[in-house]
Symmetry: D2
Subunit: 345 residues, 4 copies
């Protein structure tokens, strides 16, 4: 049993952490903070928790939360996590940071995309929290930089190809589509029901901040420079990311061969499911679960491989992956609390 | 560990039973039948199950399924369950029938609403599977008539008032709204995405077959005749029923008094959650769970009580309630396999 | 050709007025104001208008708008219209106010539901802008109080019954369901996509401010006191209100008789469509149009009539009705600019 | 005034033709056929038309429809139009065929993608009905092959670049997303509400039948071979196609330069709207209208241009374009009946 704090728990990600952790067999939630909802019962803000928890949101300093936690999840906006990480780190609390603050190892790249960093000296302590790539480092890490939702879908989708050096890494295209919960619970015109419902659009074409994260990790796998043209789109659903990934093949490969290669690459992974040739992942088949579903197709005419990758952005793209990291850090069963069957329809 | 068969497993209800049962700690699924998908892997028809089960759909007689089952769930259309119930019953297999075939105890009422019944002699063996009303009878039952989705929301919503005799039973109004999964997975124009999406309509006004079920159970509670004007509506969501129930109060009661009465009435129920006065249930707060959430308001001007009752139609309205019944029949923890936290957003 | 100003044009209602008026054959839009979007092109804020209008939002005083308008639409929040109405009125500009500020003729009732009124002396000049009830008064009115969206659906749905004195007026129930655009374009948690999508809930049970408006008009028709228990619900669609109305019949009437009576009552109405017995209105069949569709059913068992009434809340419930009023005031064809075929699917 | 027949009018496309044509100032609809709904009033099948038309569906031979029509729209499934075209053609009736039967000029390509053709001799008479490319030919055509919905969005999106020879034509990517109405009103599991809602998936990856149509037209513009990797996706909305198009630039071009080029290319087009650099089309801004909205971005890093193209699949992607063709054929104002303002929200 570990004592767990959630710092910044009132958004969709914080709420999703609660959903998973209230049923986790090895966890005691000792604090969940929210400035906005300070003093209010969690079940009053999020009625899904009615009868499931007595927790109330508190407004507390990192020191106060650190005092009652072995491990802390930071569900704060980008730029705010970096202000509290040093406090938790010095206090000896292990940290799973769901923001982007420690994901980029090259501070120059970070600055170019995000601006100044107030605690860059901690970046070297951070482990990129994608268990499929860094399982061993995660076990002993003190600070996890939990991956972004889009990067999770893109990196898992392309990792085997990048590792094998069979695609043109200078010219990848990631056409991704995300449900609206990816924008969080903050009040923005674009997140209003009437703006998103029955709508669909691209945004941040070629300029989304998740791009360097994808390039960093794929480069690390491939050992050579990677360029991703990343175009995110806003999908009128609550949950789910589907990425359609296009890469030029540097040698002829069949779909069967590719499927086998992916199965081999992910053979020990509890949360990656590879589809047969001819069958395609959908966001509906992963909703409510920690799975990343991957399908493959080859277009012989243009010599391209098309990879389809689907996750629930709030789970494998955020809270579920964070708990998976916690399980590894604490020596729990990796799937503990995450044996969630997708909810369909 | 009990051996469980699912007879008619290819619709949404059958699939939902599978979702719950693959994670149930005390259950081994030994058969799932489907004429349409005979021979195909469950995970190929419903990709949510990818990697979660090796089951394939079979086309089998009741005798064949009985041979390998201690208990069987019938997820068949109305009128088809009555043809197989006798076989399972004679074979000594306990039955949870999710159709309407054995819900009405008065065969004249059954005939008036549904037409002929081919095995009326089994009606007397059937227990109406609403644990909040018939828990003890369910424990020893050999045949459970699992309640309809609408009746579950309406009966649970009105039971305490009916029991106390504080409402005008001759003139209840149930204005209910159901998600499209309530119509099943069969091919009907009205179930097409473009017909239901961005739409909303009433149907079967005052003539829906779930009406006599509500009247039967509320009469049984009240001990006097009950008339329900039931108007169902089709809601453009996947899951959820919200019933807005109107009843004339026969004596002055405050919201606080009513909330207390409901809390008392349902004090031992693991799946009924009563809301504070001023706060209202929503289908979003029960989605993916076995809860029935109930809220209350009083309109002093017209002397009416308004009860709002919300369930997930596929879970508390069908498969979840069926598993709750199974748990009671088998002496398992009543909440086994049903500790599902609602999925929001 | 009349010169038309829109005061407060940046919300969904203002935008809908623009949609209709840019195609109106007899109208020149001379001003559209918005403090928030001051100086920006309408087509930049609402890209639907790309290439359709050169208008830009301005921030202007009533006097400035009055100087260039024969008639002005006020699409302001409740409480703000009352501050500008006197200016337009004194300037001789005819006013169509889409807020609630002048809808209630009894100032005591207004105060009870809304609080203080800053220009109550203008209430007596206001005509309730429901053409089906006040066509002649509207033609010569200088100030129109355009009805609320819910009241439009409820009043049109019950008017023939109220007029005939065949229902119990002391105990009406209006169970209404509205699309999210009814909440406007302002930033509220409840209007976020993830909060409303796949959700459904009741709100303001028995206490919604549209209640006195319904009661006032039905009383005026019936000539005796009316009590409406009004329960609005939030529907996960962009547009549409469907009201399910319940009334006790004071004498036996058949559906056919009722349908004929409604046809007679509305025989000259271009925007009211009465359905055959057995067929029901849906919001999908009126979306994008100025129609109010009405269907009827009788429940003999409980002696109640059920009326189903469907409108597009932004059109017949707001902007379309406002233009219909303008057409009457200006002596245009009543349907000018409103010959909109519903958009389905 | 021309007499117009609609052959095969009961699907969404036929219904959309009716929506536009009942308001068209120069058209008399003389016949609308449907085997399924034979004898039933149009308003009974599609209640949007209540009070708008007295038409009833008839089951009639081509000869019977030809006898009362100057021009006929064929809204039949692929493969069925080819059986009736010869009859209408011989009878001297001008034909606008909304199926794929006459879109491909190379019969070998047709056969490879669709199979046998029963009246290939008429292909040479057919004009591809995209007014932006073939306006003059359309004016005098006797047989129009109305373009597919996806090809309309892709061809209009890439035409200026193909014409200028500034992109790598051997390796285009079209990542398109379509609303569910694109699948028609036929009964398919995948078109059910619960299957599509809250879902998103790719299908027919690299193998969709609309591919050769895109390649044919872009080749015709470019004068050299074109290869399109086309990946369609199913979007949980009623209407709309958004195509995200990726092409390698063969010379450096700025976004401003590209926007200017597109504006020049489409300067006389009433239904193509080009967006400023930095601003992107959405399906919500074209819903219910005949517009094709196009936006452009350049990714310097990978040397690619990204074109975003949005249409309403039932209007510019089908019925609206067909009416635009009719207007040209009959010498009407090109925008007659098509001055539809997009419906938002």
């Amino acid at each position: 049993m570990v004592n767990v704090g959630i710092y910044g728990g009132s958004g969709y990600t914080g709420q999703e952490l609660l959903r998973i952790l209230v049923r986790h067999p090895d966890v005691e939630i000792t604090a969940v903070t929210s400035r906005m909802y300070k003093g209010q019962a969690v079940e009053d803000i999020y009625p899904v928790f009615k009868g499931l928890t007595d927790l109330a949101f508190i407004d507390a300093t990192p020191a106060e939360v650190a005092a009652r936690s072995d491990i802390v999840f930071l569900a704060l906006p980008h730029g705010e996590a970096m202000a509290v990480v040093p406090h938790f780190y010095e206090a000896g609390v292990r940290i799973i940071d769901l923001s982007a603050d420690y994901r980029l190892r090259d501070m120059a790249v970070y600055t170019a995309w995000y601006g100044n960093h107030s605690s860059p000296e901690f970046v070297e302590h951070a482990v990129f929290g994608l268990p499929e790539l860094y399982r061993e480092e995660i076990r002993t890490a003190r600070l996890i930089a939990n991956p972004g939702c889009y990067p999770t879908s893109v990196i898992l989708g392309l990792a085997p190809l990048a590792a094998d050096g069979v695609i043109d890494l200078a010219s990848l295209v990631a056409d991704s589509k995300s449900g609206v919960s990816g924008a969080g619970r903050s009040l923005k015109i674009g997140s209003l029901f009437c703006e998103a419902n029955e709508g669909f659009k691209a945004y941040s074409i070629g300029s989304h901040r998740h791009t360097p994260e994808m390039e960093q990790e794929l480069e690390s796998i491939a050992g050579s420079p990677v360029r991703v043209l990343f175009v995110p789109h806003l999908l009128p659903v609550n949950r789910g990311i589907l990425s359609t990934l296009y890469a030029g093949l540097t040698r002829v490969m069949s779909e069967t061969e590719l499927v086998e290669r992916y199965r081999e690459f992910y053979r020990h992974e509890p949360f990656v499911r590879i589809y047969e040739s001819g069958s395609v992942p959908t966001i509906a088949a992963v909703r409510g679960s920690n799975y990343c579903d991957i399908g493959l197709a080859v277009d012989e005419k243009t010599g391209r491989v098309i990879v389809i990758s689907a996750i629930d952005n709030l789970i494998k793209g955020a809270a579920g992956q964070a708990v998976q990291n916690m399980n590894l850090m604490c020596g729990f069963e990796e799937t503990a609390g995450l044996d969630l069957v997708p909810l369909f329809p």
